[in-house]
Structures are given as structure tokens and as C-alpha cells.
Symmetry: C2
Subunit: 517 residues, 2 copies
């Protein structure tokens, strides 16, 4: 017989069935994959099947050759924050994501909000201006595209004094039972809805969408403080109780649709049922109010960016921080943070975002918020701040300011990037402080970076050292975050440590290991 069965005894502990062929033994890949936690799948290449054996599953992003505090943040143009499962939805009231990380109720998580803003700015800077379809701007002197289903409904142009432009006044029943005044769209690509709206009554704006199966759904943006709800084919987002004032809305309809359906169907089901937006058929308004600049566009990145920046300015407290209002358990019962903790990563990512908002607008409210965000870096984590020291010696800014310290690497580096951005745009005392915090942190990083090197990957944190427990290895996507961060740092600091370490850490992703003695 050419080949035959042979048992393989694994570490003297258990057996698997293998195949022997002359002097070679063939072992089942399904076992190898599980034992070593690697990846593989069979695909077809030029008509031949092959098994693609992958040591890791994530992707490294090479940074640009230059870095500027006003520019693209790392490779955040590849982030799609709002599409993540742990984003419940983009709030209609705040225009920023609501996180369900660590609590199903959702909370405004400053890190997620900053990353949302930074990713949209980075997309804007790399993709450029969107295509915009103007449905209505009040400037054309005619309103014949609008459909009025009831003779009592009214639509007219009106000069708005506060906006100094012509807007459209609409008057309909505010009841959801009756159709509103609508404008057809037939839009298959541009799924971002923007509008300026002012309601005199309890009004709403509705987008009707069609799925690939030709099902129709309605997404209603209503004057309510209820975040999100789903009722059959109707999804509701609350815009807040904001009667009588102009409000600007920016809604990624495809995301709003998906988050609405997610209230009832999980991702697998939504995919299977083809519950996604293939067309926007029309936009309609109800109640009595005014409307301007109603558009559908491919993107509205800058809107999202400023929503995030404004959220940070508005919600920063007198300590310069954005308290995180959920309990965070790194290790239940051992490393826990009660609600209200601050994160150096949140502070730093906010700085990166606020500095960019300042550089685009020259509005000092953004810069001041970024400067104020430094305060917590000087306060010990045992005192409610984010500062800790390794070996009572090296300053470290904690993503999770636990006691004992956890020393999460990626959060620390994000905080350093925030301080870098800030030191680059400030002067005087603010610049001195930012520079000092940055250089102390960088000195620590250079001393401690290699503590995260496992010889075949990286550690997520140093809990093993502070608690004397099993190390917490970084899964591959955190490992690549580490690499992306080092590559970014190598652009702003020419210490070869960053470039060399990043290269070795990339090698680990292909199964290479550091040498043993």
C-alpha cells in the first residue's frame, strides 16, 4: 500500500489519526490549525485547489512618509467605526456613535467618538469632496418636484433671517398615519442624508428605502429623545426635543437602517434576509417646519468629524476629562474601574481630534479643550487621574487606570500621539507642558516597549508583571495595531527602535520567532 494510517501521540497525552507515506507522516491540518491557532482555508487558484495557510489574520498599514497634526491620523481612513457591532447607532441627538461595549444600554464612549471623528477626517483627506445630489436648497424658485398627497398640505419658499438664505416652509399633519410631503430620489449610491431643519410642531423627516428584495422600509427622524426603535418596517431615530431651533442632521442612511434592523435580527440573519439599502426612493417631511439644504451624498465626513469634535467640547468636564460612565472589568474582582473613570487614551485621541478641528477652523475652543485634556496626565491614577509609574520610575499614561496598573500598550501610544499633536500646535506654557508629558512618555516607551515583545507576538498589557498572573497575549488585530503605531512613531521619531521592532513584529505575523539560545 502506498500510504496507510498511523497514530500520532501528542505530548504523550492523546492520539490523532495521521497518514504515512514512505518516510513522511501527514498530519491533519484541522488539528495543526487548532493546536497552534493558525488559519487556513481552501480556495481555487487557476482552476486548482490550494490551502492557504495563514499565521495571522490582520493587516499592517504602512503610514505616510510625513505626519502632520492636521492630517490623516495613522491609517484611520480604513476604520469604519459606526459599522462596528459594538456601536448601537449614531445618536440622532448627538450625531456621534453610542457604544454598547461593556454595557448593553449603551454609553457615549469618548474613545469611540474621537475615533469616529478621526476616521471621518482621515477619509475626507484621502477621498476628497463627496458627490452631492441637492434635493432641495430653496434657491431654484420652484417646488414642482415635491409631492403633496393632501390638498390641505402646504409648501412655500421663505427667506430665513437667521440663515440668510431661502428655505422651504412645509405644513402637514404631524401624524405618522398619513404620508408627509415627499420628494422622490431614486438614489442608488449616495446614502448620506443631510438637511437643515426647523420644526414648529412635532414634525419629522423620513427616508424611504428599498432593499434588494424590493421591500420598502421607512427611517423616521423624529423630535423625540428616544434613541432608536423598530416597529415592523418603520425605524425611528430621536433628534431630541429641539422644537423651534435650526438643527443640522447628517445621517448615513445605510448605517441607520442596519442598526435599526439589528434591534431584531442578528448580522447573519440580516445578511441572509438581504436587509440592506439598495435604493433611496424618496424623502418626506411631516408637521409644520422649515427645510433647507436637503442633500443625498456619498459621504459627509466633515460633518461627522465636527459632530465628534463638538461633542468633546460640549461634554468635557472641569477636570478636562471625559468620564467614562460604565464599569470596566479588566479582570473581574481584581482589575476593575467603577463608572466615571478617565482614560489616557480617550484624552489623547480627543487631543488628536481637537487639534485637527482647531487647525481646520482656527476656533480656539477646540484648542482649549485639547489643552485642558492634559490636566489628568499629571494626576496619579490612584487619585482619579491617568498617570502611573512603572517601578516607581517611568511615567506611563493608562488607558485603564487600574490599581495595580495594567500598562495597556496601544492606549499609551495613542495618548502619546495626542500629546505630540498638541505640543506641535501650542506655544508658551501649554507647549511646555505638552512637550514635557510627551517626552516623559516617549522615554518610558523606549525603555519599556520591548517588555511587550513575546518573541513570537506581543502582550496587550503588563498585567502578568503587576499581578504575577498569566500574560495577556495580544490577539493579531491588537498586534497589528501595535505595529501600525510603531510605524507611525518611526515617522515622528527616528530612534531605530521603532522601525526595527515593527519589522520584527511583522515577521512574527508570518510565523517567524526571535531566536532562542
Amino acid at each position: 500500500l502506498k500510504y496507510h494510517d498511523i497514530d500520532c501521540v501528542i505530548n504523550g497525552e492523546y492520539r490523532i489519526k495521521c497518514r504515512r507515506e514512505t518516510s513522511e507522516v501527514f498530519v491533519p491540518f484541522s488539528f495543526v490549525q487548532k493546536y497552534f491557532e493558525i488559519y487556513g482555508k481552501i480556495s481555487t487558484e487557476d482552476g486548482f485547489e490550494k490551502l492557504a495557510w495563514e499565521h495571522s489574520y490582520s493587516t499592517v498599514h504602512r503610514p505616510r512618509e510625513h505626519y502632520s497634526p492636521g492630517g490623516v491620523f495613522m491609517s484611520f481612513e480604513f476604520y469604519n467605526v459606526e459599522e462596528r457591532d459594538r456601536v448601537r447607532c449614531i445618536s440622532g441627538m448627538e450625531g456621534v456613535p453610542l457604544s454598547t461595549q461593556w454595557t448593553p444600554d449603551g454609553h457615549y464612549y469618548p474613545i469611540q467618538i474621537s475615533q469616529f471623528g478621526l476616521s471621518h477626517l482621515s477619509k475626507y483627506l484621502t477621498q476628497g469632496e463627496p458627490e452631492v445630489l441637492i434635493l432641495e436648497d430653496g434657491e431654484d424658485d420652484h417646488l414642482e418636484n415635491w409631492i403633496l398627497p393632501d390638498k390641505r398640505y402646504k409648501l412655500q419658499l421663505q427667506k430665513d433671517k437667521s440663515l440668510e438664505t431661502t428655505v422651504v416652509e412645509f405644513t402637514t399633519s404631524d401624524s405618522m398615519k398619513y404620508p408627509g410631503i415627499s420628494i422622490p430620489a431614486d438614489e442608488k449610491d449616495d446614502f448620506v442624508l443631510c438637511a437643515d431643519l426647523r420644526f414648529a410642531s412635532n414634525g419629522s423627516i423620513t427616508v424611504t428605502i428599498e432593499t434588494p428584495n424590493l421591500q420598502l422600509f421607512h427611517i423616521h427622524y423624529v423630535l423625540s429623545s428616544k434613541l432608536i426603535s423598530l416597529d415592523g418596517h418603520d425605524i425611528y431615530y430621536g433628534l431630541g426635543e429641539r422644537r423651534g431651533q435650526w438643527i443640522h442632521i447628517t445621517r448615513t442612511v445605510s448605517v441607520d437602517f442596519d442598526k435599526g434592523l439589528a434591534l431584531k435580527f442578528n448580522k447573519v440573519k440580516r445578511t441572509k434576509m438581504k436587509l440592506k439599502v439598495s435604493r433611496i426612493t424618496d424623502v418626506s417631511v411631516r408637521g409644520h417646519g422649515w427645510l433647507d439644504n436637503l442633500t443625498l451624498s456619498t459621504t459627509a465626513h466633515l460633518d461627522n468629524f465636527y459632530n465628534a469634535a463638538n461633542w468633546l467640547v460640549y461634554h468635557q468636564n472641569d477636570r478636562g476629562g471625559w468620564p467614562i460612565m460604565v464599569q470596566r472589568s479588566l479582570i473581574p474582582g481584581v482589575l476593575e474601574l467603577p463608572p466615571g473613570w478617565y482614560s489616557a487614551m480617550a484624552q489623547g485621541q480627543a487631543m488628536s481630534l481637537l487639534v485637527r478641528a482647531y487647525l481646520r477652523t482656527q476656533n480656539t475652543k477646540y484648542l482649549q479643550a485639547a489643552v485642558d485634556a492634559m490636566k489628568l496626565f499629571e494626576i496619579d491614577s490612584t487619585q482619579g487621574g491617568v498617570l502611573t509609574k512603572f517601578a516607581d520610575r517611568y511615567d506611563w499614561y493608562e488607558e485603564y487606570p487600574t490599581t495595580p496598573s495594567s500598562f495597556v500598550l496601544n492606549g499609551f501610544i495613542y495618548s502619546l500621539l495626542g500629546l505630540y499633536d498638541l505640543k506641535e500646535v501650542t506655544d508658551g506654557e501649554d507647549s511646555k507642558m505638552a512637550s514635557k508629558l510627551y517626552s516623559n512618555g516617549m522615554q518610558t516607551l523606549k525603555k519599556m516597549l520591548l517588555m511587550f515583545d513575546t518573541g513570537s507576538g506581543t502582550f496587550y498589557d503588563l498585567r502578568h508583571i503587576t499581578l504575577g498572573i498569566a500574560p495577556n497575549r495580544a490577539r493579531w488585530d491588537y498586534h497589528t495595531t501595535h505595529i501600525n503605531q510603531l510605524l507611525q512613531l518611526s515617522v515622528i521619531d527616528d530612534d531605530p527602535l521603532f522601525k526595527n521592532t515593527a519589522q520584527r513584529w511583522m515577521d512574527y505575523m508570518k510565523g517567524k520567532r526571535s531566536k532562542h539560545n
Copy 2:
């Protein structure tokens, strides 16, 4: 076809040939073995072939339930120091091994000498007294077993005043050309030769051995300062220029034979040519001298133990140290020690040995040497001592006191065991100092131990942290040394850190890893 070929593409980089059988792909073990650096071999079990897949290759020794500074050292009863390739031979002058580590010329390496002594004591304590065949002790009043090949040769009993016993005086030609006076042995098991000898002329003692192929070889122990040489079937060991004084020799003939043949043949050849001792046929003496207590025994562990202890006492310098006279390059050009360096491990292992010699003999010269060996623990490694600090904060005793520090784990722990042994047997100021050094070191160890945990093995040192380079992973035998040490520490210190870490590190040897996030 039941199974067919399929290519496997490894990390998008290269291809190997695999086999597909229904939905399973079988990959060649030879590749898996190389890629992941595991081990495997085919053997037969109950008439069936099997492949034994081993994640690691070395063995953990569970320590005894109790530890005493006078007892077995760790599991050193399993060590066979003198059989190692890097032992050139046991010196005829010193009775201790000469190391060829880092220099082919050989040097007296205090760590090896202490380990030689500790292993022999540990063997003695676990194996008990040897079987001893007395060939001659001068007490039987007859000398008829001896063969005198020349009528001019003489042999007679004589009372020796210094030894206060009857000894045998022999008178022969001292030329190697002629046979000496010999006593037949026909000994097939006990290959350790001991004797008390005093030479008036340029004499020698010779052991004739037979190999499995019935070849005869002679091992001559001669009054010369030449270490070792080989000339055909004659091997020479120098006993030093020690004419006129009583000398005690203890020779493991099988080892002496092997080291002699190693001058010409490598290990593979020696095995192939069956160059090993199967029988001692006789022992002979030449020249004019006196002989007593000529024995062949299974072992002479205590002799070896005291040879090592005495070597340490004799060669300790005024700094309390045993300078190591070879250059040591941890990293050529970067981490180097010029000849004359001290090692905390050498100091500590010497303490463990000297304390045991003291406890067996109550001779305070041993204890004083152990106490003096502490001095270098208070001197910074930059000042020629063995003390360094991690993060300017934690005292660490360096096996290799490089600048920057290397933080070799196993050497540090051996030094702590030495300090422990010493603090247990001293009192007064000596005890205070030993206790302080021990507790400072243990405190450091508890803080830093987990820095050596890779999540799937251990690091040998912390060069990656001090130099910012690739980590130096410990190969499996060093990994098991770490485990053996932790298990030993867990007997003398009940901090669960030691037991728990040892358990996890044992799990790593079976392919388990710490969790990733």
C-alpha cells in the same frame, strides 16, 4: 481517487505539497516540525508504528518536599557534569573539571566546579555509600597479589608515620618503556580508582582497561604538570609536580578514558568504534614510592565533592571571588566581559557547595569562604561586582555582569539559593548580611519573574529590554531549569507565585499557551 495532491501556500510566501482526503487536508509533519520547531519520531508500540509528537524535549524534576542547606541541591543528583562535552577532563592536579566553554584551551570555571561538587554530593546523598573493592591497603601482611616483572623490582610493607598506617613501598624503573609492578583487577563495574600515593622519584600509576572489542589501553597518571595527552593506546594525566608528598587521587577511569580518546575522536566515532571501558584489567605503579588505600569503587562522590570545595577555598581571591579568566561575549561587540569577571551564579553556587562542606565537616574554612563570597554582591557590576539594578530600583545579581545589564534568570536564582543556604547556617553580622541580600533579591524576583514569561515559554535574559533588540528565548532545557528552580523556591517560600508560575511554564512544554485577548 480517495486522496489527491493539493498545494498549501504558506503565508503567501511559498508552497508545500499536501494531501487532500475528503474535507481534510493532511500536511507533512516534517514541515510542521520545522515551522513550529517541535519534535517527533516514529517508534513502535505493541507492534504498531506511531509518531510521537513532542512539544519540548526536556524533563522537569519535582523537588523534594523539604529543602535543607546541607542536603541534596535541587535535582543535581541527575547531573553528570564531567561527562559533558564542554568538560575537557578532570584535572589530575586539581581533581576538578576543566571547562572548554568559550575557550578551547580550557579554564577552571567556578560554576562548573561547584556544580560538579554539588552533583556528587547530591548523588552521594541519594545513592548512599559505594561498593568498594580494596586492591591494597597494606593491612593484610601479604603482597602476593602483586606481579613483579623484574627481579630487581621491590615491594614491601612499611609503617608510615604521617599517615599512621602501614603502606606499601615500591621500587621499579620509572621508565614507561618497562612494565611496572601490577595488581590484577578483572573489574567490570567499579571504575573509580582511588589511591594515596607518595613518589620519591618520577613515578606514575597506570590503569589498564579493556574495551568491548578487547582492545587494551593504558591510562597513566604521572608526576607532570601536563594536563592530558594521548599517544596511541596510552593516555596521560598529569598529577602535578608533587614529588615527596602524599597525594590522594580519585579518578573516574571511564571518564578519563573517554576524555583521552576525545583528543582524537569525536563522540560519534568513539561510540562507533566502541571506545569505552568494559573492564579494568590491572593497576600498576612505576618509580620509587609509597602506596596505600588503592581501591576500585562504583563511585567516590564525597572525594569529588571535597575536591571541588577545596578548590574553591584555595582559589578564592581577596575580593571573595573566583574570577573567570575567559572573555565572555553574550553579544559580540555589545555585551562582552573581558577575562577576570565575576559571576553572581558562581558566587552563589560556591556558597551552596561550601555551606554543605562546612555542615559535613564543621571546618570553618568552608563557611568563611562562603561568607567572603558575599562581598561582591554589594559591589556594582560597573565596579567589578555582580550587583545591578533594574530600573534603578530592584537589586539583581548578575550571572554575567555586563553593561548594560543582561538579567539572566537562572543565574540570578542560583545566586539566591546560595544566599539562602548561607543565611540559614550563619549568625550575627554574616547572617544579617546574607538575609538582607537574599530578601532584596527575592523581592526583585517576585517583581520581575513574570518579565521572563513569553506566554508560551520563557526568556533566558532581558537583553531585549536593556538593548531594545530581539528577545533571547530560552531553549527548552533552560526553560526546564527555570521550572526546576521555581519548584525548588516554592519549597522554601510559600508565595503562590512560584508554584503557579511553574505550573503554567510546565503547561507551555505541552504546547499550551497563556490566553490572548
